[in-house]
């Protein structure tokens, strides 16, 4: 124990004796570790952000839109060549047990007027299950009813951004607004939801009964997108499978004959996985950068340790003459290399956290100080010290004391 503290003392003393050189040597490690910590933190922050945004879509969320899936992804031209009908929605609602809630939706954009204020926003047509699927509560008033939907009643629920822009601090419930010059009565206000995964403002929306939007505003017969909520998280794959079978049967699609589905399904899990996959690719890239920096840093340490061994040949000779064994010398130089690497690692962690916090502040991401990442960076830098300090240390320990003492 005493010996260990002695070696540590000697190592740190020799490091502080050459402050600038030690700092420059450690720079490779500092950059490498800062890179690891910052990127892990930033990546993790961005991932958490994306995750919370996908969570905000709703619970056990399933989305069915018209158009086939091609190898390059989904065809997004739904609405123009729609193959989903209201009876499809009814079939899902009545036949599939694993689906808890389902709603036909349709979407358009329109100019909205209240008093002398006007605002251009998205109009979302949905059925009564809509807020349940999106897990979106009302902050005041009530959601429209099934009767409102069937009667195509001119009622609507406002998102927070719309409220802000049309009403300011006024209470909108009970007021009448005009959408495309048609008067709508405001029955409720939605909670604040925040930005979506794609970066758009989810609160900039007006939700009206599906039938109202379809008939009164758009004048179409097609269902835009069907959204649904599986009964539980475990039921999502089952629900997905059952909906697929049902729609194939209803649309008379023969997969065996090579016919393509005329609809595409996305689940929340899939969307999340896709985002995670992208994050994964990014992190591989970052890890390889960090790896290269650590390698270069390690080579720097090896180089400076070899220089140090040559420079201090006499010192090694003296230490051996007065009783240092080979392993004492080896331990000394190894500990010096590790001390260099760990000091670099610690400074790197500090720098990395600083970068991470700065980036997170400017990007508005949640700061994720990942303790695993910090620990990993620390262990990595120590390993680099051992790996690249070993050869110089071995070389030092094998010096012949007589030769070493004679060295000029």
């Amino acid at each position: 124990m005493r010996k260990a503290t002695n070696i540590l003392t000697v190592a740190f003393r020799s490091m502080f004796r050459n402050k600038l050189r030690s700092l420059l040597t450690a720079l490779g490690i500092i950059i490498g570790v800062a890179c690891v910590v910052a990127t892990i933190g930033i990546g993790e922050g961005a991932r958490l952000q994306a995750e919370s945004q996908f969570q905000s879509l709703g619970t056990n969320f399933i989305m069915v839109f018209p158009g086939a899936t091609t190898s390059s992804g989904a065809r997004m031209g739904h609405g123009t060549n729609s193959k989903l009908s209201e009876s499809d929605v009814e079939a899902i609602r009545s036949e599939i047990q694993s689906v808890a809630y389902v709603s036909a939706t349709i979407r358009t954009a329109a100019q909205v007027i209240y008093g002398n204020q006007n605002w251009s926003t998205g109009i979302q047509g949905g059925e009564v299950d809509w807020p349940l699927i999106r897990s979106w509560n009302l902050s005041s008033g009530q959601f429209f009813t099934d009767a409102d939907n069937r009667a195509a009643a001119k009622v609507c629920v406002l998102g927070q951004t719309v409220v802000q822009n049309l009403f300011g601090s006024e209470d909108p419930v009970g007021k009448t607004i005009r959408i495309k010059n048609i008067p709508f009565r405001v029955v409720g206000v939605l909670d604040k939801k925040g930005g979506s995964a794609m970066g758009s403002d989810q609160d900039d929306v007006i939700v009206a009964p599906y039938q109202t939007v379809r008939k009164k505003i758009m004048g179409t017969t097609a269902v835009g997108v069907i959204i649904a909520s599986a009964a539980s998280n475990e039921m999502v794959p089952q629900a997905q499978e059952e909906i697929t079978q049902l729609l194939r049967q209803r649309h008379r699609i023969n997969r065996a004959a090579g016919q393509e589905d005329d609809f595409t399904m996305r689940t929340q899990t899939e969307m999340l996985q896709q985002a995670e996959q992208q994050a994964q690719t990014m992190s591989y890239l970052l890890w390889s950068i960090a790896g290269v920096s650590l390698l270069v840093g390690g080579i720097g340490i090896m180089n400076i340790m070899l220089v140090s061994v040559t420079e201090r040949t006499r010192e090694i000779g003296v230490r051996m003459a007065i009783g240092a064994k080979g392993r004492d010398i080896r331990a000394q130089f190894l500990v010096e290399a590790v001390a260099l690497a760990i000091t670099g690692g610690t400074l790197g962690i500090g720098l990395g956290v600083f970068i991470q916090k700065t980036v997170a502040r400017f990007a508005g991401w949640p700061v994720s100080l990942n303790s695993d990442g910090v620990l990993l960076a620390f262990v990595f830098s120590a390993l680099v010290g051992v790996a690249f300090g070993f050869y110089p240390a071995l070389k030092a320990s094998r010096l012949d004391p007589i030769e070493a003492l004679r060295y000029e």
């Binding site: 005493r2 010996k3 002695n6 000697v10 003393r13 004796r17 006499r314 010192e315 000779g317 003296v318 230490r319 051996m320 003459a321 007065i322 009783g323 240092a324 064994k325 080979g326 392993r327 004492d328 004391p401 007589i402 003492l405």
Partner: protein
């Protein structure tokens, strides 16, 4: 007669330089009793450096035995010799060999770093090193680094370092080689005083007037002991060596 500290029988050391063999030591026998002050002299190539390396356990003889303080050290491994050096031998070098940018006190404490018998606490180690510094008259210079000390002072720090593990022999290799004659006298007086106090001193030198400080002079030539004579008075030694 006191028990011998060093007992050497038929010591040889052969270096292989490619095909040829160089016999640096060729059948050296020597006994040194406790409390002696022996000067080893000889021209370069006489084998005195090889002899010193073996006496100091830095090297092993090719054949023959070397018994130091009752222990046969002529066949010991590298690590075992390191322990012997730490425990029984106090080295003093020509160029002092102090660690630069390291205080005198820390330099003196250096052998304790590798010692099994060293005191456990920093306080005790500091006390021991300070005691050694005061033996050589440098008690006020503990915090000075070698660059802040004169050559003579540096050599005295080195002597303090050699004393810190209470060695059986002091082995001084040309300790005055880098010093002027006045400082040489100072340093040699330290050795004489230590010898008066009972310390066995082996001094390697090529300067006659330095050898005259010893009690006995051994002259090497061609790997063998040429003469081994006690110093009766100064003139005698000088006459002997210059013959």
């Amino acid at each position: 007669m006191p028990a011998p500290v060093i007992e050497i029988r038929d010591l040889t050391r052969v270096y292989k330089m490619g095909e040829t063999e160089v016999r640096a030591l060729n059948g050296v026998s020597l006994t040194v009793a406790r409390g002696e002050f022996v000067a080893v002299m000889g021209p370069s190539g006489s084998g005195k450096s090889t002899f010193m390396n073996i006496i100091g356990c830095l090297d092993r003889p090719t054949s023959g035995t070397y018994i130091l303080d009752g222990v046969d050290v002529s066949r010991l491994s590298r690590d075992e010799r390191a322990e012997i050096r730490n425990d029984k031998i106090g080295f003093v070098f020509q160029n002092f060999n102090l660690l630069s940018r390291t205080s005198a006190l820390e330099n003196v404490e250096l052998p304790l770093l590798y010692s099994k018998k060293a005191p456990a606490t920093t306080k005790e180690r500091d006390a021991r090193a300070k005691a050694c510094l005061s033996i050589v008259g440098l008690e006020g210079r503990s915090d000075h680094t070698p660059s802040q000390l004169s050559g003579g002072q540096q050599q005295r720090v080195a002597i303090a370092r050699s004393l810190v593990n209470d060695p059986t022999i002091l082995l001084a290799d040309e300790p005055t080689g880098n010093l002027d004659s006045k400082t040489s006298d100072d340093v040699m007086s330290v050795f004489q005083r230590l010898n008066e106090e009972g310390r066995t001193v082996i001094l390697i030198t090529h300067e006659h007037d330095i050898a005259e400080y010893a009690k006995r002079v051994v002259v090497f030539k061609d790997g063998q002991v040429l003469t081994d004579t006690p110093v009766v008075k100064r003139r005698l030694v000088a006459a002997e060596v210059s013959r």
